[in-house]
């Protein structure tokens, strides 16, 4: 029972991280209909910027007391800001000139951007080519235990921040004028522009929001898994991004609520598979679920089926 609850808790925590990354994928796909493969690198950038900013302020060094909570928020906002700018630049430089090109070209460009970011991050004046420890920004001791499951502050921070950001995004999309514009562009960019929506602005903004959410996920990843941050060109980052993308597809790509649901599902499946079957096939469970979902309900759990017309 304890193992079950522990797995459930871990699955939900990691699922929240997947959901945050998946939101970026699903929003870009919803509007531009292409897979932004550079998104996982924005996520990695978020983690690395968190380390760098914390280093600038002088936080999280070994032997120092854990900094107060608002310093963590400062680091989070800094990483989100940098990644937001990077997301804007990526869209402006690499994707906008290809707005009307075949999707495969945009896909290759995305892979190119991804390669660029990975290898740029390895340069000496960027982050360097060696792993670095994540700073400890939040106290790691167990707060309380529920039925044998130790609840730690980083886990609560992950879940809390993720939920707050998701609620903010929900408000942005469904309660503001800009969100209405986003939904209109997602429905049909041409008609939206006829109705006076500035499509370019909306697309740029979507990229910025997606990149900021990915940066938050990167920060939270660092908070949860202290250990080492692998170098920027490590396949681990892309794999985490891919799993988040799988989450977006499973939930129904283009659907914001679906991405959250998919993220939680993927997190749970991964952790229950590891706990009860075998840890060796960790990545296989996620992709097996993906193939199953696509074969049975290609539009995803919450997606709406579209019919391709001649």
């Amino acid at each position: 029972m304890t193992q079950f609850l522990q797995t459930l808790f871990d699955g939900i925590t990691v699922g929240c991280l997947y959901a945050l990354i998946a939101l970026g994928y699903t929003m870009v796909y919803g509007i531009l209909k292409f897979i932004n493969f550079a998104h996982s690198d924005v996520f990695a950038l978020g983690a690395w910027m968190s380390i760098t900013i914390a280093g600038w302020i002088g936080l999280g060094l070994t032997g120092q007391p854990t900094p107060p909570w608002y310093m963590g928020v400062l680091v989070l906002l800094g990483a989100m800001g940098v990644c937001g700018v990077v997301g804007f630049v990526i869209e402006r430089v690499a994707y906008r000139p290809l707005r009307n090109a075949p999707r495969i070209n945009v896909l290759i460009t995305a892979i190119g951007v991804s390669l660029f970011m990975q290898n740029f991050g390895q340069l000496r004046f960027a982050f360097g080519a060696y792993p670095r420890p994540f700073p400890r920004l939040i106290d790691n001791t167990a707060l309380f235990a529920v039925a044998g499951v130790a609840v730690r502050l980083p886990d609560l921070a992950v879940i809390g921040t993720a939920l707050a950001l998701m609620a903010a995004l929900q408000f942005l999309i469904y309660r503001t004028k800009f969100g209405t514009a986003m939904r209109a562009v997602s429905f049909s960019p041409r008609n939206a522009s006829l109705m006076g929506v500035n499509v370019d602005l909306v697309i740029s903004f979507t990229f910025v929001v997606g990149a900021m959410l990915a940066a938050a996920a990167g920060f939270l990843y660092g908070v949860k898994y202290e250990g080492q941050a692998k170098q920027t060109a490590d396949a681990m980052w892309v794999m985490l991004g891919l799993k988040a993308f799988v989450a977006a597809v499973v939930g129904g790509i283009g659907n914001v609520r679906g991405a959250v649901l998919g993220g939680l599902l993927i997190g749970l499946i991964e952790f229950f598979g590891v706990a009860y079957l075998s840890s060796q096939y960790r990545d296989a469970y996620v992709f097996a679920i993906l193939i199953l979902v696509l074969l049975l309900k290609p539009e995803g759990v919450l997606g709406r089926a579209t019919v391709e017309k001649v």
Partner: protein, 439 residues
């Protein structure tokens, strides 16, 4: 009447021409392979021969992916998965097969320097071309290709239900599952325990493929001969496929699936067939790859390897075999060249002149592409000189440069080098002027 019969008999192909028509690809492939082995190999030397082998293997991979991505328009992102299937099967058969064939005492004495087998290692173009070991190796590559073709059949089936991005994701997932499954195999039996291999049945041996560490100490049979034999055969086969009725059916599916179906193309059959054929060659390439570097690790054959192959196909032009082959060669050599960049401007000038000549011959001037070539060449040359002047080691920046070139290429020429055409179709053909044809 009898005259007519004699005439038609004269028109019918003789046995000799039929045999020649069936054999010429093989003869050409063997000729190219022998040329590569005896002439190009010694000319190149170890390091360059290694790059030449990798380039040849990449040609096979890129051209085979063209069948699915370029001809049939089914976007597959799991090509490295097929490569892994073929590579592991071939490596397993060759590795354990050698242990069974060769006297274990001999193996444990001078590991991989048997008289019977060409465990050549470094001296790739010394010693005989054909040995029994080579026969085992080529046979295992073909079996690996068949295993990969089987996997291609399984992957091809979902393509009947899924299209576009969804198919891409499913094939990506397939590649990852293959990787994880091979990483879950049992440990390899090391060469110093070769005696035990004889007591273990075949099916059990094929489960001992190294797990997460991958297979190591594989015999390096792959020579320039085998690489270029298979590369030539792949090129000929795929080109013959493109101009055949099956190929036209595939092109029709790529252009418009619904219209193709309406014209009576059996979409199901052709899509699966494209996957099977493409996977077969990828499997063979996997075998060549494993026995080239002497090691095989499923971790290296993940989505990033698939991306590399897709980049080659897209850069060459979707559906252009010669384009994919050329892009494979360029993209193999480019990162190596960027280690110590040579002068860029002669190549840029040559490219500028070629593009200008083609445009003038066609009578369609595109100043924009010429300006792009000139600007990129100038930028690269200036960058190179600045780096040399300031003592910056460009080898650190090579992958950043590679990615930048890729993005620039996609922005400047989205259709790839040759679009959907072959190289020789880019040179305009002078049409015979017939009287009044244009009026």
């Amino acid at each position: 009447m009898s005259n007519l019969l004699a005439q038609s008999r004269a028109l019918a192909p003789t046995t000799w021409t039929v045999v020649l028509r069936a054999l010429w690809p093989f003869l050409l492939g063997i000729a190219v392979g022998l040329f590569a082995y005896f002439y190009a190999g010694p000319e190149l030397g170890g390091y360059h021969a290694q790059i030449a082998r990798v380039a040849g293997i990449n040609v096979i991979l890129a051209v085979s992916l063209t069948v699915v991505n370029g001809f049939a328009g089914q976007f597959s992102m799991g090509h490295a998965g097929f490569m892994a299937v073929g590579g592991y099967v071939a490596a397993g058969i060759t590795y354990y097969g050698t242990m069974r064939l060769v006297d274990p005492a001999q193996l444990s004495n001078g590991l991989f320097i048997g008289g019977l087998l060409s465990w050549t290692g470094i001296g790739q173009f010394e010693g005989p071309v054909l040995t029994w070991g080579d026969a085992l190796f080529v046979g295992s590559c073909l079996v690996g290709g068949l295993a990969a073709a089987g996997a291609g059949y399984i992957v091809g089936l979902p393509s009947l239900r899924l299209k576009g991005d969804y198919l891409a994701i499913v094939t990506l997932g397939f590649g990852e599952i293959v990787r994880v499954l091979f990483q879950g195999t049992k440990d390899q039996i090391p060469p110093w325990q070769a005696e035990t291999v004889r007591d273990i049945p075949w099916y059990d041996l094929m489960l001992r493929l190294g797990g997460p560490k991958g297979m190591n100490l594989l015999p390096t049979y792959t020579t320039l001969f085998w690489v270029y034999l298979f590369a030539t055969l792949t090129l000929i086969f795929c080109y013959r496929l493109k101009v055949s009725s099956s190929g036209r059916a595939l092109l029709a599916i790529r252009e418009d699936e619904i219209a193709a179906q309406a014209m009576g193309v059996d979409i199901t059959r052709y899509k699966v067939r494209a996957f099977v054929l493409s996977a077969f060659f990828a499997g063979v390439a996997g075998g060549l790859y494993a026995m080239d570097i002497g090691a095989l690790n499923a971790g290296d054959l993940g989505f990033q390897k698939s991306f590399d192959i897709i980049i080659m196909v897209v850069l060459g032009g979707m559906g252009s075999i010669s384009g994919a082959a050329l892009a494979a060669i360029i993209l193999t050599i480019l990162p190596e060249l960027l280690r110590s960049p040579p002068m860029v401007w002669p190549a840029g000038l040559a490219l500028l002149i070629i593009v200008a000549a083609v445009q003038s011959a066609r009578g369609r001037w595109r100043p924009r592409s010429l300006i792009v070539i000139a600007v990129v060449t100038a930028a690269l040359e200036i960058g190179r000189r600045v780096a040399i002047a300031n003592g910056i080691n460009l080898a650190d920046y090579r992958l950043v440069l590679y990615a930048s070139l890729l993005i620039t290429m996609m922005l400047a020429r989205p259709q790839g080098l040759f679009g959907i055409h072959e190289i020789w179709e880019m040179i305009p053909r002078r049409r015979p002027q017939t009287a009044g044809a244009d009026e």
